[in-house]
Symmetry: D3
Subunit: 251 residues, 6 copies
């Protein structure tokens, strides 16, 4: 199996974290690639930045999807996820979605641990769009400014551990989600000290992508996730144009 | 007052409909401009197309906002609306949002009349993101292929009237929303024959934009609609870069 | 345009606040009148008082509606709003509804700042009846007894400012609503010191009323907001009897 | 035990139906009185009529409550229920509420069978205000004009039976609620032919009132159902003024 | 009337509390029996223990139902309630359900006071399954280990009183529910000191059972609460087999 | 990896279907066992039967869990799932839950195709307990009596295909779930003819179980999925007693 993780952030350091965690999580026979957005911001925290990241991810998906068995949109918040799922004919999974699915199989109510206050509104809306707001116990977050997005998890490890314990004891979380690509890998580091199951997006997404490839559930030829109907377009990259032209045969 | 309507579709014919309806709806002293997306598809029906439209609209907003008192994202479905609202410091309103607000002040439950079956999932998710799914009586839509997006409202007028009556009599709608910029102006044409209040997005958005300008409620310096925190970015237009650099003074 | 604001409270001092704010908010050509309930309590805080206020407002609406282009039920909590909307054939708007609509176009989640603890349950139920409980971040309120309902906003200004800041920082409000006719005008006073958009009901209602008049969406001849079916009645005022007899022609 | 049923409709014929069913349902030692609104409409179908009925019921409650152990607001839709519950210090129950509670103890999802199309919006909103919209399978209703509100149940019995069967077979109702005081007694007549439990409001309310009297749960001295705080009032009946003056001793 | 209360806990001391409170609450002519689960745990706090309790209660119901007019599943959390309701042809009521119904007729939002932290998740899920999560103000609980389940209410009375006051003042509860069979009777003890209505499950269930017997709403011959369709089974008690064989005559 | 699927139905023919599909779906190195409930009914359709199945599954889990890396509760409706998850220290997954998670990663709204009308209420409540009712487009089901639970999928294949197409075209499903262990394997047979992704529970559960084993998220030592607190019990099997005694070391 070949899985491409698309980092909608422009930070190579975050892509490196993603790649390391993805390869650790993947089955032995799975090939993992990671590509970094050439356009956008260092790390997405807001709806506006997510809108840019969605466009960057869509362009990368258009360019690369044909060489892979599944795509992962590798930013928590899942910029562009459902749109890209319409356009390509392979499974596409987002980090938030993947972590939510893992969490739902381990308990009832989950909390999200996030790297900044500003990012929490975007995460909350993403959980709502997934229809799972009723199971969200809380979102807890770092309040400090981040020095280096590539080393957040080591710079703030002790505070992140505290947030985990507060979510369990004060908010009643059954399961915790460490949110955001910059925290990829932290779950393994601290898991043994946290008294509830702990999941994160990259490893969840890679494993769930393998599952969807293996299940081979078929593609959407009808319904709201079938490919966009062909129509005039302009100003788009060659890859995007090609993607929009490709209409799967009707049943 | 100066209001810019941004058409995230690339169709000039739709922009013409928008401009005509916007000018009819605006107060005498309001100046209306309409700009058409240089990049994207002829008319947005899917999440993927909306993602492109959001990026196009964001770029136009970055370029033009400083010369206006309010922006309108002039496609039903509101591509990029909440993101753009973060980034600029003037009111930004979407057609769906505007029509929903009008409808909510005229009744309890509303139905949406749409131009294609494919477009309905995107609309439904937009209503949900606005938190108003509980008041949505139904979405009814044309099933025929559209010949010309600029003449949908005349080509299919009689069917659109039928859909209106079905929404009232079978679905219990108190108010109807004619959805989509291509139907701009139709409400005035058929209003006298429809036995419940009938609203649409362009006129609602222009009037609500005037209201927000007049109310002068202040801008978001904190909270999730304050400007994105400054951080490294790459690959963006000069206007977008300038917008992301502009940080409003903290309180 | 001629707009009548009906104060369902019996306090003339509150009517004066309402009138001043309404005239400031209205367009130059709009004529504003305010009428005070001859029957009821000084200021409504409870469901029981609201029930009385609804009846008083309905009687005033029956008496006066024919001379106006729109009515505003000028108490937060909107006593009798949806009922009166059925009975008259002009737009009728409530303060809560109007403020909610303004808030929804400025952010996602809003908080309400209220003048007493007792009033909050009634407000919460009003937000729920509007279907917007999912966007309510919090209701924060004064806890002190009120000396004079006409001077609440000056007597308690500093505490009201504190409540605003708590709603932003602790509850995550994107927008604030200053609730209740007795606070009419306060938003303008403190707006520059509050780092998120701030709206209130009177100015919102006047502007939205102008919008509905301008949009001319048509009246409800069918559905749940059409006039009550004629039937025997007794014990009602002459104006109320006349209103209940008036049946608009069927389509 | 002494229970007063307040009919917010002005129809004596409906009061007679209510009285008969209430006496049949009550325990042997319970004394039942029924009083008819002196002010309002023959039978409430709309929000506007309910607003009038609420005021009429409140006045009757103010006048009579001191002589009873519990009150029943005897119109489906429960006009004024929660308001009146604040003001008096005995249990107050509504027909909708009472039927909903019975239904919830007999199954999961319930349907409501109603006497007119127009009445359904008001009922739906009443179920929502009770927080039970998630268990509402459907509302089905007569579509014919009603000749005589006092004989609806016999004039339309066969159609009402059909509606019951449709709610079971097409809508998946586990339990049926025959709604509206004019149908009081019909449940007993047709129960043996309906293959799911069948409840109605009058008998449910009388029995639940007896239960609340027997449980003696205490009154609300705090919280949102404690008596309205004393304050100036005007234009109210002597009974209403007395009620508003009566403040229970604080704890 | 003959009502059997089935205690799904194995504690005889709790059954004694249940029996005492049930007899105090019942009408004079009602005969009350209590039976204790022969299989299970001393007191149910978790979903796993509830699953065992449900099976034990189902077996007791199968064995005993034919001699009674109604059953009460006498553990808060209602283990097995809806399943048992399908299988027997008399009313079956649970303590949570019964207390919720009482609470809903006394106010809008209620809080639950519970005997252990661990038990709260199970209670919350039970409220959600009843569709009433929107009216749940809070669940507050003892945090101390319980020495003796039969004397919790006296051992911890002062803390339980504190929890009541916190639920009123901090959480906005209109009504309180003392949860769990081990607290049966406490409501009567402390009621006069608590400034909002206070209910509990045993007395509510007994009274509501009497009501359902009196209303005689008919049994479910169709729909999801009709008896399970006959089919092969194995490994079950003779009583359970007999119950599963008994099919009520189709209509 | 060693995964045990527990069939809470007593039908060996269904266990055979489960085993075949589980082995087809599993990774090459995964060992699959299936065990059939010794106690219960041939196939669970109702809450009462599910209550029995939950107890049977719990006993099997207690007996066998220590020899496996994960358990699957192999009946759609997930009898006992969350309870068993508390008690054992390995991942436990249910068929409904597993299929829901797969469906959520392939689209937004899903429909469930079921083998009998009676079974649908139980399924609906299971989706609600998972917090995903908002994404449920519909449940469609066979109406015919089932001759042989082991051959439902071949006996009724053409009707099941029709139900699939109706869910897509009339209900707007993006993804379909073939529900119930008796349909295990059918998804592979008909997938190519169905124009949206099609998933079922057995293959989803096996793959998700592998994922949870690989992610090694840690066990619940706190919160509502930690093991039930030790306390007196009686009447339970030796395996159940041992399980209840085993308390994991506190952190």
């Amino acid at each position: 199996m070949r899985i491409l993780l698309i980092n909608p952030n422009t930070s190579q350091s975050v892509s490196d974290l993603i790649a390391a965690e993805a390869r650790r999580a993947a089955s032995a026979s799975t090939h993992i690639d990671v590509v970094t957005a050439p356009l956008g911001v260092a790390y997405i925290e807001t709806r506006f930045e997510a809108l840019i990241g969605a466009y960057a991810a869509a362009n990368l998906a258009a360019e690369k999807a044909s060489k892979y068995d599944a795509l992962v949109i590798a930013a928590f918040g899942d910029p562009g996820l459902w749109g890209i799922r319409e356009a390509v004919d392979i499974p596409v999974i987002g980090l938030t979605e993947a972590a939510l699915m893992s969490a739902c199989m381990l308990g009832n109510r989950f909390s999200i641990i996030a790297i900044s206050h500003r990012i929490t509104a975007w995460y909350r809306e993403c959980v709502q769009a997934n229809g799972l707001a009723g199971r969200l116990a809380s979102i807890r977050c770092l309040q400090q400014p981040l020095q280096d997005i590539g080393t957040v998890q080591t710079d703030h490890e002790s505070r992140l551990r505290e947030l985990c314990m507060q979510a369990i004891d004060a908010d009643g979380a059954d399961v915790l989600i460490l949110a955001g690509a910059p925290l990829a890998g932290l779950a393994r580091t601290i898991r043994n000290d946290i008294p509830v199951p702990l999941v994160e997006g990259v490893s969840s997404a890679v494993r769930h992508a393998e599952t969807l490839i293996a299940l081979a559930p078929g593609t959407a030829e009808r319904g709201s996730f079938s490919p966009p109907p062909p129509k005039p377009n302009q100003g788009l990259s060659a890859a995007m144009q090609a993607l929009l032209k490709r209409e799967r045969p009707p049943i």
